[in-house]
């Protein structure tokens, strides 16, 4: 093979390659071998040198490219390329190529230096100003985005990494900056729970999950701390953390701070309950924005919380407060009011008896307790027990502090049993609305009315038969199971609304869910949430056991009625006349809903769930209704 052929072969081979370092150096080696021959012809020598320079130039370029044009390698390449030109003069066929490459490498170097300059300039922002911080972040982001586009793909990779690093730094610094800047706001908006709460044993189960799922709880107490304490203990029991927000501080936030605080709240983990306090201060007349706007804003905020946070939202409220206004309520979908009761007399006695081993007979102290402990609340009870040696002094001190607001609330209530159990001397007489009730079944089919309005039938028959007709029309129970989901939902809703007429309830939101679950139980037929504000029913139960769904509707609606009887309204005579509910029973419903035993299928806790008065009475009512329609079921 002649040298000429050999050179041609190398040229062909390298031309088809990517000028990688390995291929290039191999080709250069071979060419050097040829050039080492002293007897080589000048033509061959020159074509071999040409090819060698070409390969070197292209190799240098591609290596710069693959390395991401770092400044150091670019400069080195430029030196070598310059030496090639100097050695061979501008006459070589390759000089154009080499010049071209030099120009391109120089170009990249310019881009890099421009980028560095821009970055450097961004870095000079004023780190004491929030808007400059934000600008720096957005500009860096923009810079990176621009240079990452394909036309600038030749950018120095180290430089790009550096830019990304810088961006993160800016963000961290910005957060620190904001934290520092808004720390004062955080302190006023988010309140902390005193450490000693952890040691306290007695608390009210008023916020138990089973009853206040999905609803904003408007909690009424004579003492805001009482709400915080009980909510804190309940959250602790449920393994959740509690966020306490001062509404007055929140509403007075400026836009930037509000934004920051909102981020803080909504990016917290899901395992969160919220208590909102300071409602009274929030709407004090001193504020210069109109109250209506504030109310709407508060409503929007609380509704946002309810939507985004999985846990309970408890708003500390006073009776007849602004929060009860339609403006606020219009913003929040489901609000349910509860009155936070004080500990029962027997609980206070028993707690003191249990804790105080020396004092064997608390009976002798009953008089003192009656007169001095009625307004201590659960927090006060724990504090009293904490100072056992001085319990009388502690209790009466707390009592006298709370007294005024306690009576303020008590006097505003329709009936005292909503707040305090009748064992306390302080508990007032039951006020009964003696009015006869009227039945209104307008809007229902005549067939339903015919049962509901038939006074010859027992109350259970009237309720049961009407509901049976609504649910199954003229079909059988198995026909019902075959209906479309929409039709089943519609009938269940109508069934619930029908029972509302019986119990004189506001129509609740009825939700029919494909597969209803609770925290503990994977299959729940129905749930009464928010003290009767929402009824949730399980569609699969309706399909699998249509008759069970009949009793579930009656069951959940009776729960709603139970809540109605104790929640601040005047006691109605018809509660007893039609459903045998006496004031004491209402009081028990209140105490039970504030100390509800959750559903567990196993162990002795099942008994606590099943036979607590709320559940037992409801089951008895349901069974009575079912018994009353036994004969029409048989006929069908």
């Amino acid at each position: 093979m002649t040298y000429q052929d050999k050179i041609k072969q190398i040229a062909l081979k390298i031309e088809n390659s990517e000028f990688s370092f390995e291929e290039s150096s191999k080709a250069v080696d071979e060419l050097n071998k040829i050039l080492a021959d002293k007897d080589i012809s000048i033509e061959n020598k020159s074509s071999a040198e040409d090819l060698r320079d070409k390969i070197t130039a292209r190799g240098l370029f591609s290596s710069c490219k693959s390395e991401g044009y770092p400044e150091s390698s670019c400069k080195k390449a430029l030196d070598i390329l310059a030496s090639i030109i100097a050695r061979r003069g501008a006459v070589s066929v390759n000089s154009r190529l080499v010049n071209d490459i030099i120009q391109r490498i120089n170009n990249e170097l310019t881009i890099n230096s421009e980028f560095s300059k821009k970055l450097k300039k961004i870095n000079e922002f004023d780190s004491t100003k929030e808007n400059e911080f934000l600008q720096a972040i957005s500009e860096t982001e923009k810079l990176i985005k621009n240079y990452e586009k394909s036309e600038y793909e030749q950018l120095d990779r180290d430089l790009l990494t550096y830019a990304h690093k810088k961006l993160n730094e800016f963000k961290v610094e910005y957060n620190k900056f904001r934290e520092k800047r808004y720390s004062a706001y955080i302190k006023t908006v988010f309140l902390k729970v005193p450490k000693e709460y952890d040691n306290y044993k007695y608390f009210l189960g008023v916020f138990s999950q089973a009853y206040y799922n999905n609803c904003v709880i408007s909690a009424v107490s004579f003492n805001e701390e009482e709400i915080i304490f009980n909510a804190y203990k309940q959250s602790q029991k449920d393994g959740k953390s509690l966020l306490i927000i001062d509404l007055s501080s929140y509403l007075s936030l400026k836009e930037d701070a509000e934004k920051y605080i909102n981020e803080k709240i909504f990016t917290e983990n899901n395992n969160l309950d919220v208590v909102i306090i300071g409602v009274e201060n929030a709407f004090s007349p001193v504020m210069n924005v109109s109250q209506n706007e504030l109310l709407i804003k508060a409503g929007e905020f609380i509704n946002e919380l309810a939507k985004k946070i999985n846990g309970r939202i408890i708003v500390s409220n006073k009776l007849n407060n602004l929060l009860d206004s339609p403006l606020f309520q219009g913003q929040v979908v489901k609000v349910s009011q509860i009155i936070v009761g004080v500990p029962q007399l027997s609980l206070v006695c028993q707690a003191l008896q249990n804790e105080n081993k020396e004092n064997n007979d608390i009976d002798t102290e009953k008089e003192f307790i009656q007169n001095n402990c009625y307004a201590i609340g659960f927090l006060g009870l724990n504090k009293t027990i904490e100072n056992l040696s001085n319990w009388k002094i502690t209790a009466s001190k707390i009592n006298s502090i709370n007294k005024q607001s306690f009576f303020e609330l008590l006097n505003n209530l329709q009936n005292t049993y909503s707040l305090i159990d009748s064992d306390w001397k302080i508990a007032g007489e039951v006020k009964v609305d003696q009015g006869e009730r009227e039945f209104d079944f307008s809007g229902f089919d005549s067939e339903v009315k015919q049962f509901a309005e038939n006074t010859k039938l027992s109350i259970y028959e009237r309720i049961g038969r009407g509901l049976y007709v609504i649910m199954y029309k003229n079909g059988t129970e198995s026909d019902f199971a075959k209906l479309s989901d929409e039709e089943i939902t519609e009938r269940l809703k109508t069934g619930c609304y029908y029972l509302c007429r019986w119990f004189l309830l506001k129509e609740p939101i009825v939700t029919v869910v494909a597969d209803l679950k609770s925290d503990i139980n994977s299959n729940v037929a129905g749930m009464c949430c928010g003290g009767g504000k929402e009824i949730m029913l399980n569609l699969s139960t309706a399909k699998n056991s249509p008759y069970y769904m009949f009793s579930t509707v009656a069951h959940e609606m009776f729960h709603a009625y139970q809540h109605k009887t104790h929640n601040g309204e005047k006691f109605n005579k018809w509660y007893f006349d039609y459903f045998g509910t006496t004031p004491k029973r209402s009081e028990f419903y209140r105490i039970n809903s504030q100390n509800y035993a959750d559903f567990y299928t196993v162990d002795d806790r099942y008994a606590a769930y099943r036979y607590q008065i709320l559940e037992a009475d409801t089951n008895i009512f349901t069974a009575d209704v079912c018994d009353a329609i036994e004969d029409i079921r048989r006929v069908n």
Partner: protein, 647 residues
């Protein structure tokens, strides 16, 4: 070759190890000895190796002897021969020119251990041998053996297994002898006490709440009424099983034939045995209902009453006649110390439960099929299954496709017995629900009614006026009447300060009579004052015991005020009604529906004690209902105070 590379010391060591591993069984030791012989006889073997081999030979022989001793001992042979062989070996070793000290020491140690084992065995055997055929001595002997074993285990925690095996064997032998002994002395009694009852294939049962109330009914006799004896045994067995106790069924004849001492002796033996497995017993006497002779019956009743005071567990008596009145029999025969007794009718299963169970068992996989099954069979079930009881129901449930045959057979077989029982049964026993297709309820004596117009013997004009006042609701009447009965027209301070305990008790009993009538109670519960604390809990102020037949009140609490007494009495009286409602026919007092009765019963079945979570206790149905009743009465009394004139 590797084998040739093994040196003599290694080989000797291996032989010893192999023998030890096999626990010195004869064959291994024999082959080991032969291999050692080769070494000893090898003229090229060094003197050290030969001496080593000889020492190991002695060790092997000692091991063999020791092992053989243990084995022969285990098989009950004389061990003296073995000990003498070991002794000889030791002597031989000592005779050697250079005795191996280690081997000698080991051998002597083993000899001591062997001698101790032999002594131990002999002591055990000695104990049981001296006991001979005397039952008491045997029991004592058995305990002694157990003690000996425990002591030996303390001294030699790792003692060899053979001794334990032998000891256990001896104990078993003693037990067998004891059992035989008892059977000879009290024929049938021992077997009766230890009779295994197995109802495990019958799964479905109901737990009767009254049977569960362990705390309150300890030391009392409970008469179980059902037309069928087996049904009673089954329910008692299930109940015992539920609370992890052993049910002991005793035939009256066996009980009668045993002397009183012999019986309590057997019983103490039984309790002792049960204690070891942490169990207690429930005794059920069967066959007492078949005794006709009055004096014989009374004598037995007296014995059972006495027994109920000694025995810490529960005692049941089966009554398949329904008219034996065992309660009076037990109660009246003990003079001043009245034994407690009450009765419980084991009601037939509820129709809903039967339908449900049958449809699940035979109706098919899904609800729809089950509904169809029920539609087809409802009337059949209603008439045929009515008198089968829980046991019969179980028998039907496991009968697969022959279930109808079984049901019909049982129905026919038992129908007369059932009807007779139902007719004889005291009118108040709740035996069967009206929903069944049977005419027994119609033929039964009518249930007691509550006659508001009856004049109490302590009545006066004021009380009459209260009770007949048409303007008062029933609860208001109760409230005013109770206040009047307690105060007799005087104020609270008179009640608290001016009257003595006896007078207070009379007044409370009068008040209880009024409440009882309005709650529909056939009998007024006995009222007792308790001086100290009631039960376990210091804060307890009243207790409703014996299924509603007895009310205990904390004296110190009741002395304080009329109001206190009124409230606690009303509360406990309501409990009494709830208890009785559980096994009496439905009366519908004060608007209480049947479903509430049912839930009361279920709540009693899993009653939550006041010792645990306060609210779980306080808010449970039976407690809440009682508390609400009190409050309602007080409220209605106060709101109608103007209607009543006390003077």
């Amino acid at each position: 070759m590797p084998q040739d590379c093994i040196t003599y010391p290694e080989k000797i060591e291996k032989i010893y190890k192999d023998c030890k591993k096999s626990d010195f069984i004869y064959n291994t030791v024999q082959s080991g000895l032969e291999k050692l012989k080769e070494i000893i006889e090898d003229k090229y073997a060094s003197d050290e190796n030969k001496l080593y081999a000889k020492n190991v030979k002695t060790s092997l022989m000692v091991g063999l002897c020791y092992a053989e001793c243990k084995r022969s001992n285990f098989e009950g042979e004389n061990v003296e021969r073995s000990t003498s062989i070991i002794q000889k070996l030791i002597d031989n070793e000592k005779k050697l020119e250079i005795p191996n000290e280690t081997v000698l020491k080991q051998t002597e140690k083993e000899l001591v251990a062997l001698n101790e084992s032999v002594a131990f065995m002999n002591s055990i055997r000695g104990v049981l041998l001296t006991a001979g055929s005397d039952a008491m001595a045997l029991i004592e002997g058995k305990r002694q053996v157990e003690r000996l074993i425990a002591e030996r285990l303390k001294t030699y925690p790792n003692s060899d297994d053979y001794c334990d095996v032998i000891a256990k064997k001896e104990i078993a032998l003693a037990e067998k002898q004891i059992k035989e002994k008892f059977n000879n002395s009290f024929p049938g009694l021992y077997d009766s006490l230890f009779r295994e009852i197995d109802f495990s294939k019958y799964k479905y049962c109901k737990i009767f709440s009254a049977l569960l109330d362990n705390d309150i009914f300890q030391n009392s006799v409970l008469v179980l009424l059902s037309p069928y004896e087996e049904e009673i045994i089954f329910n008692a067995y299930r109940q015992a099983d539920f609370i992890s106790k052993k049910l002991v069924v005793i035939e009256t004849e066996v009980f009668e034939s045993a002397s009183e001492d012999g019986f309590s002796f057997c019983l103490s033996q039984l309790i002792n045995d049960l204690k070891s497995i942490n169990q207690n017993a429930i005794i059920l006497f069967v066959g007492l209902d078949k005794v006709n002779a009055k004096t014989r019956k009374e004598k037995l009743g007296k014995r059972i009453a006495r027994l109920s005071k000694e025995f810490l567990g529960q005692i049941y008596i089966a009554d398949t006649k329904g008219n034996n009145n065992f309660v009076e029999l037990i109660k009246n025969k003990e003079g001043e110390n009245i034994a407690r007794a009450r009765e419980l009718v084991l009601a037939m299963p509820e129709i809903e439960d039967v339908e449900n169970l049958l449809s699940i068992q035979f109706g098919g996989a899904n609800d729809e099929e089950r509904q169809i099954f029920l539609q087809e069979n409802r009337d059949y079930i209603k008439s045929v299954m009515c008198n089968l009881g829980y046991l019969g129901l179980n028998k039907v449930l496991i009968a697969s496709n022959r279930w109808k045959n079984i049901a019909e057979k049982l129905n026919k077989q038992e129908l007369l017995t059932f009807k007779k029982f139902a007719e004889d049964l005291d009118g108040n026993g709740y035996l069967i629900s009206d929903k069944w297709l049977t005419d027994v309820n119609k033929k039964r004596k009518t249930s007691t009614f509550y006659d508001y117009d009856i004049r109490f013997d302590f009545s006066d004009e004021v009380l009459d006026n209260i009770l007949s006042n048409a303007n008062l609701s029933i609860k208001a009447k109760i409230g005013h009447a109770v206040t009047y009965c307690l105060g007799c027209g005087n104020d609270d301070s008179n009640y608290a300060n001016d009257i003595d305990t006896d007078e207070r008790l009379v007044r409370i009993t009068n008040a209880a009579s009024v409440i009882a009538r309005y709650l529909g109670l056939k009998k007024v519960p006995r009222i007792e004052f308790s001086k100290g604390t009631l039960g376990k809990n210091a804060s307890l102020i009243g207790l409703c015991c014996e299924g509603g037949a007895l009310i205990k009140l904390k004296a110190s609490y009741c002395e304080k005020s009329l109001q206190n007494t009124k409230e606690v009495l009303l509360h406990e009286m309501y409990h009494s009604m709830q208890h009785i409602a559980v096994y009496e026919p439905y009366m519908g007092m004060l608007g209480v529906t049947k479903n509430r009765y049912k839930d009361w019963q279920e709540n009693f079945n899993c009653y939550i004690d006041c010792g645990g979570n306060y609210y779980n206790y306080y808010l449970q149905l039976v407690e809440a209902d009682a508390e609400i009743f009190v409050a309602d009465v007080v409220l209605e009394e106060y709101s109608s105070i103007s209607v009543v004139k006390y003077n």
